[in-house]
């Protein structure tokens, strides 16, 4: 499942994500390593995506408890001399990054995420619409790998839709790799228009 674009998560940052396995925190260490953990500190339940990344650890904003990439608690600032027990850890998930897209492995999948040889990531945006409605608005076609292909601003695009638990979708837009700056801006605007169409169709349907 596509969850984010690499360019949106620079080193030493953390972002929140909604996934089928619940709320998750995706973070990149100072050295550039990407990790994903449950978005909940086991100490008091605070969302870890509100926390901060120092070096190679993710810390909770509430009490500063910090966690390694494999989810183990490294440090409890209230007890600086204490070696945190191994039992204190956050659940982690497997992510991989290919072609500028971050993918979450759902269940124990053997398959590799799809690669797109002629397209590169542009931007991600939330649609208050389900993927099916987005496909209709795009007038595009769905591939076996879950991506959608179509045209925006007269250019070929690929949309990766991640359905959210609340019925909305996070849409990652891929533009032709050789698109100019002006063409990328045009695709960005056309995606906003596509969103208006998809959301209006939804509203019309709801009213009917």
């Amino acid at each position: 499942m596509p969850v984010a674009l690499s360019s949106d998560i620079p080193p030493a940052t953390v972002i929140p994500l909604q996934t089928p396995s619940g709320p998750m925190a995706l973070w990149r260490s100072a050295s550039g390593r990407l990790s994903m953990s449950a978005d909940r500190c086991p100490h008091r339940g605070m969302r870890l995506s509100h926390g901060f990344v120092r070096g190679e650890a993710l810390s909770c904003i509430y009490h500063g408890w910090s966690y390694s990439q494999d989810g183990h608690c490294l440090r409890i600032p209230a007890h600086p001399d204490l070696e945190p027990p191994a039992a204190i850890r956050v659940a982690t998930a497997t992510v991989c990054e290919t072609g500028g897209v971050v993918w979450l492995a759902l269940a124990q999948t053997e398959s590799q995420p799809p690669r797109f040889s002629h397209h590169t990531p542009l931007r991600s945006l939330a649609f208050a619409a389900a993927p099916t409605a987005i496909l209709v608005a795009l007038n595009g076609r769905a591939s076996a790998d879950g991506s959608m292909q179509g045209e925006l601003a007269g250019l070929s695009v690929i949309l990766l839709c991640a359905p959210q638990p609340d019925g909305t979708s996070m849409v990652h837009v891929l533009a032709p790799s050789d698109a100019t700056l002006e063409e990328r801006l045009a695709i960005s605007s056309a995606t906003e228009a596509l969103r208006r169409t998809a959301e209006t169709a939804l509203a019309t349907e709801a009213a009917a």
Binding site: F52, R54, G55, I61, P80, R123, S124, L125
Partner: protein, 221 residues
Amino acid sequence: MKLYDYILSPSCYKVRLLAALLGIPLELRAVDFHPGGEHRKPELLALNPAGSIPILEDGELRLTESAAMLVYLASLTSPDWLGRDTAAEAARTEQWLSFAQRLTASLGGARLCEMLLRPGDLAALQAAGIAALRELEAALFAQRLHGEDFLVAGRPTIADIACFPYVALAPDGSVSLDPYPSIRLWLRAIRALPGFIEMPGIHRLHELKPEPVHGAEGEPA
């Protein structure tokens, strides 16, 4: 220079923030906005009949609009922050200063309803706030494509300061910032500016400070 201030007011915070970033000292006069409603009492109404805060006084000059205060502070010491290098840049800065009023009305209104129990149509305010955030996200994405981290240029201007507080505090009005990657990077860029100060609801970027080495404690902070 004297600022009639309220610690929880994002509009007052704009002025405090820019003054801190530019190194301009302010004398703060706390106004009992909540629960006292002092901004609607005779002493404050005499200064600003509109009954709003902040109010900035410098000698004979008295300002009651935060955008004007930002212009004044930047003009005094740091014209670079005015965002007026070209005709287009000046116009875009003005555009964002006006846009900031939409943020105040929508996200700010939702925040007052949710946090301080002020009356209002919460769902409508939140919807207007989300529409404004979407516009901001699109604009900031376009800026990123141009290689610029801020609203009108590669450097911060008063446009950024005018829009920053109500956006950063959108969750106070139960409007999520989760779906906006470009806004998230922009908020972070502003929070990382040298001299940045927080207000309640906006936490310190603790990652800017190195991990304390235990055993090195004991020195007075």
